[in-house]
Amino acid sequence: MKKFDYLKPTSLDEVFSLMEKFGSNAKLIAGGTDVMVLLKRKRIFPDVLISLRSVPNMAYIKDEKDKIRIGSMTTHRELETSTVIKEKLTALYDAVINLGSVQIRNVATIGGNIANAAPSADTACPLLVLDASCLLISSKGEREVELKDFFIAPGETVMKQDEILKEFIIPKPSKLSGSAYWKLSRRKAMDLPILGVAISLAMNEDKSIKKARIGLGVAAPTPIRAFKAEEFLTGKFLTDEVLAEAGNIASKEASPRDSIRGEAWYRREMIRVLTKRVATISFKRANIV
């Protein structure tokens, strides 16, 4: 492993000035469970790591009137043990309880999971279907980017060199709504998904679908939304036929590849299966009687 210096700024201003000073020779580090592995595998060669752990007020879950704000340095374990997440953002809860191990979840952060921009990022699909936005901040100011517009390619996002991911802003789900995430993997713990499917449904009183969101992970170069399938579901009732067709449409919207974890045809097939399954769970969680 290449030697590097490790800097621990204690304010955002200090982070920005270090980022400016070292430019592309620096790499930001949050929990480090991805960055440390990349360093060991000699995939990245920074001269300097700039740690965000000593910057105050970066880890929080704020339950506001119509929004939930999650600080980017919040660990997966903090999310897992939060009643707000468990009760209101169920798809995200489904994702964090099956990510890595307790040891990983104790340090890995949600901001790191998203900023790393892996197609398999477990928290990406739930955040996509929960209509999350990312608050990006630099020395020049801040801007909000919807997560659906955030990813560009594997490991690439719309974040500029001088920006950091500060928080996620999630509109509070309406009353008759439910969300779920299904991670398809060979074993329960310590595995990356072969495929991830998250769905959130907001229902009308008559049990028709008011708003549908479908997020797919490892189904394309970045986590994606299945917009056409969402549109198809809107206004419909959740019958077997409707769910099957939504699965078909979502499957066509995906562009999975063959990889060591699974082949493209299998992923397409499983998008059909899981769309149906996850929509059913989401519907149950919407608690319409």
Binding site: F4, G32, M36, V37, L49, S101, V102, Q103, V107, A189
Partner: protein
């Protein structure tokens, strides 16, 4: 590019000269010669390097040494008393045959300790979740889970 950090190690205030690119595991094994925590996979999958930092089980192979400044670190070496009395979890591992080759044992016990410190009365599910990140290739999980369960029962008042 050596730097000096100070922290609490197994209850004692310590200071160490470190290279900023080290992991906590490197510091523990090479500087303090605490070789209970092992490097298995080196990427956070096997849990053989598990130690407790500020009450939380973590993979020390991925933990940047510079983040240890001011923290409280407990390793397997910190569990037994100075006169050699084993910790109840260690005793339970011995009594229940939960040790085979022993490579995963320090990590298993530290994961178990973090769990029992937080939850005095864990369910089997809680135990399985707590050690899901600790691989045992002798496949002795049943005895390990049993040992943790027995240790929790013993610790109840």
């Amino acid at each position: 590019m050596k730097k000096v950090i100070s922290f609490k190690l197994n209850g004692e205030d310590v200071e160490a000269e470190v290279e900023p690119h080290w992991s906590l595991l490197h510091l523990l094994r090479e500087t303090f010669e605490l070789t209970g925590a092992k490097e298995g996979c080196g990427k956070g999958e096997c849990g053989a390097c598990t130690v407790i930092v500020d009450g939380k089980a973590i993979n020390s192979c991925l933990f940047p040494v510079m983040e240890v400044e001011g923290c409280e670190v407990t390793t397997i070496e910190g569990l037994a008393t100075l006169n050699g009395n084993l910790h109840p979890i260690q005793e339970s591992f011995v009594a229940n045959g939960a040790v085979q080759c022993g490579f995963c044992t320090p990590g298993m016990i530290m994961s178990a300790k973090a769990l029992l410190d937080e939850n005095k009365n864990p369910s089997e599910d809680d135990i399985r979740t707590a050690i899901a990140g600790n691989l045992c290739r002798c496949t002795g999980y049943v005895q390990i889970i049993e040992a943790i369960k027995k240790a929790s029962e013993r610790r109840e008042p």
